[in-house]
Symmetry: C2
Subunit: 198 residues, 2 copies
């Protein structure tokens, strides 16, 4: 297998793989179980290197009991932030982001106006509940909206790695930067394919 | 003056210089008059080259009567878009933008919630009017929120030019990219200083 090992592929992982039930259930019934199962598979695959941005790792610790995770995890899943002070992104990316946000901001205002107009007719609590949902969908879904998202994309870019996440925003922007990504629901099968070949 | 001409400084101009009354009045009582006066000064200053991104120029044509502007303008004020497919911006810029927007989006939602809560007590039209104002301030003031803003900043960066604009968002982000800028209210005096030296 030496020739294969020489071109080791890198994988950048998001927390969502271990937290989002749709994908996590492939690995285990809880985030902690899912990580243990991932670890069991990952250490059998020397052809792949696994990375997680530090900010994402820190999110993950909100969901798992760190004392139940073998220290070995750290030798299989590297913590690394992107080199954010040296990396650059294409300016066209900035244009697309600003235009996207501009449209979303306008949409957010329309949602708020509609809520105010219906406020005298319906239950105020229900209106606010619905407005929050619609507003968040309009302003956040399918966009990179946190530094954790930026970390994921830039780390994948820096390492020329494959991104594995459930987040649509991160995938949309990975596409714009020509970053490879996997369907998260196929991630376990992908890992197994390396093991079964042996 | 040959030695001075060899290092000609470049200036990138925003529409706001000719439209915003606070600055425009230094040059004339209408955008058209302001441009004619600017042109009169600019052609006496071979030490400076003036640029305007095409998108900004196109905004300007909403305010001025083009037929009243001498064709000479185009030989004094160059139209040029930034090279947006080759330029890059530092990744750290992306982090700051995303964090800034995230906070603004949350603030926008709080404003909308407050408006809904007061909707049963006050005049609906007045509430919507105030909400729009507060929302736009929260989501747009001091941020680059249009492709025209991005054009201004990137063109100044590309040309290593001095940015002249009234837009606080553009100035804030020019600062982050180490772009030189002038207090817009001092722009006429700045131009005159070149002429008076002679």
């Amino acid at each position: 297998m030496r020739s294969a090992r020489r071109k080791r592929d890198k994988i950048v992982l998001d927390t969502s793989i271990f937290v989002n039930p749709e994908v996590r259930n492939d690995f285990g019934n809880s985030p902690t179980e899912a990580i243990r199962e991932f670890l069991k598979l990952a250490r059998q695959i020397p052809e792949l290197e696994f990375y997680m941005p530090t900010s994402i790792f820190s999110e993950l610790t909100n969901f798992v009991s760190l004392e139940k995770i073998p220290g070995e995890l750290l030798s299989v899943l590297y913590q690394k932030s992107p080199n954010k002070h040296e990396l650059t992104c294409p300016a066209i990316f900035l244009y697309e982001l600003i235009e996207d946000i501009r449209e979303r901001v306008n949409k957010g205002l329309r949602i708020a106006e509609k809520a105010v107009r219906s406020a005298s007719k319906e239950d105020e609590r229900q209106i606010i509940h619905n407005m929050r949902k619609n507003y968040r969908e309009a302003l956040r879904d399918g966009i990179i909206d946190s530094k954790e998202d930026v970390d994921l994309i830039l780390l994948a870019k820096e390492l020329n790695a494959i991104l594995v996440t459930v987040d649509h925003g991160a995938i949309t922007w990975a596409e714009k930067l020509g970053i490879r990504w996997l369907f998260p629901t196929k991630f376990k099968e992908y890992l197994l394919s390396f093991i079964e070949k042996k």
